[in-house]
Symmetry: C2
Subunit: 321 residues, 2 copies
């Protein structure tokens, strides 16, 4: 029902804005550009409005150079918001929500249904899967460029098809996108084989700090502000570094401590099986999921490490994990 | 035709041996165990005979504890060889080929068709895809355990669905395996989130040696025999280390130098786009593919590095890459 209403509304609209969240990721970029390209292809007057820059590695996607910054309020026949659980995450782009007809398309369980039409499916691995359905139903030919956008959305939000959100249907969709001409090894090279030199330096620094605790069940790595500066690294460069500490066979809980300001440490937590790292993060005002969580604490790296290790030990003992 | 003959031969056989190559990988183990479990399930007297141990990380696969070592010659109604391009790669297990009826099932282009029946399909991403077809055609119910074996075969031989051998059909098969109960995040944890501690130490040592050449187009990492010893690491622990040098955005060619004996250096080479690293390896008596090759040279790490860097420079200049 909702799906059909959305299709009808898009068909009836000419001037359309596509919005997505700040700090864009592969799914927000990929799903938005797929829809933008598809709507443009069928003659709509469409804009893709985004607060932040598209990360450089997604620069190969078609129309990635055509994003617009949010400016003054403007009327649209429809504003389509993708991959965005609440309107705060839109940043300045939220200016286009009031007095426009809003279609909210998302896969986050926490989505608070802020749209006039809401298509929220938590069983979809990525917003890209929902946009795939829309483009199919709108009967727009899914060319290679659109398929590359959707592939990017899905491969990144499923962690290369390894996260638990990956379904049988995810693979059916990817199979179809490959039939449309997506070159998977080229996509992999563009998306995954392109760490910055700075990130590689951080990886080395982080590995040098690796320590084990609780009979090797807990691993911990850290980076100081000084090291971040020495490596000339940005926050983005530290993404994924925690996996180095997690992907060790004996490890159940991995901790990544990163000094973000003098006396302020951001803590990343990962677990593999039963340890609930969100329970640890919540103790310090943070949050997350069973296997991935985070919080921010005052103190030196060593002080924060001690607090977090104690809390992790409690969590490990709780379940006798 | 061949496919039907193989199905008929398997149906007519009771005592069956499944063989695969030395230094087993995810595809040889996964495809062999899938077929072994399937044939056992329909009442055949089947053995899985293998020269080497199953890598520990595949120990969760059903029947992984039931492999047999090659011994004296024995008669079988059929000997099925999986994922093996030539009989030399069978090691001592090749003893079962003479005077037995041999079914050769493989996806390597170089396969020299040594079987009485040869099902060699270079378009299959993994031997696991061919075994999937066989089990389907044999009408054996593909339970979760068999599906996990096939998933392991395919996910590893496609590099998590990122290599160019990954096809639309690969994803259709994986979708089916998920429907059979495969838990992809659990599989990922078992197969990919379990580096040894020793490997993690090697990663740190290798990253500390990282250097760039040819305007940052070439990266080079190295490990000495002494470092391998210091890290208490095995050859297997160095698998995949070269990706640390390859996965940097500016890099086209990555070099990994590993001293394997005093005065002997094993060289791994990777490229992303047009540089042909097999052409470099061939200069020194090695071989490989466009994007992955290797060779072994006498000399110190520094001496070998110089030779390889010169040859890589030539290759980069050749194509004005």
């Amino acid at each position: 029902m909702i799906f059909k209403s959305i299709i009808d509304k898009i068909k009836d609209s000419n001037k359309i804005a596509v919005l997505s969240h700040v700090m864009p990721d592969g799914d927000s970029i990929g799903s938005s550009l797929a829809l933008y390209n598809a709507l443009k292809k069928c003659g709509k007057d469409v804009r893709f409005i985004l607060d932040d820059d598209i990360p450089r590695k997604y620069g190969f996607l078609k129309s990635s150079g055509e994003i617009q910054r949010p400016g003054q309020f403007e009327s649209f026949d429809a504003v389509i918001v993708l991959d965005c659980g609440d309107t705060e995450r839109l940043g300045n782009s939220s200016i286009y929500l009031n007095n426009n007809y809003v279609i909210n398309i998302d896969h986050h369980m926490s989505n608070n249904k802020y749209g006039d039409l809401n298509m929220v499916n938590k069983d979809s691995a990525a917003a890209g899967e929902l946009v795939y359905d829309l483009i199919k139903e709108l009967d727009i030919v899914m060319d290679r460029e659109i398929s590359e956008c959707l592939y990017t959305a899905i491969v990144t939000d499923t962690g290369q098809f390894q996260y638990s959100n990956t379904t049988s249907r995810t693979h059916l969709i990817i199979g179809d996108l490959i039939n449309n001409g997506v070159n998977v090894s080229l996509m992999s090279e563009r998306i995954y084989q392109n760490n910055s030199k700075e990130k590689t330096v951080l990886m080395n620094m982080a590995l040098s700090s690796l320590e084990f605790f609780h009979n090797d069940v807990t691993s911990c790595i850290s980076l100081t502000l000084e090291q971040m500066k020495e490596a000339n690294a940005s926050d983005e460069d530290s993404d994924g570094i925690i996996n180095l500490a997690r992907d060790i066979e004996c490890v159940e809980v991995a901790i990544f401590l990163r000094e973000v300001e003098p006396g302020v440490v951001k803590v990343g937590l990962r677990s593999k099986k039963k340890a609930d790292v969100s329970a640890v993060a919540v103790l310090f005002g943070g949050g997350g999921h069973l296997h991935a969580a985070g919080c921010t604490l005052p103190g030196t790296v060593d002080e924060v490490k001690k607090k977090i290790l104690d809390a992790v030990a409690e969590e490990l003992n709780r379940g006798e994990l």
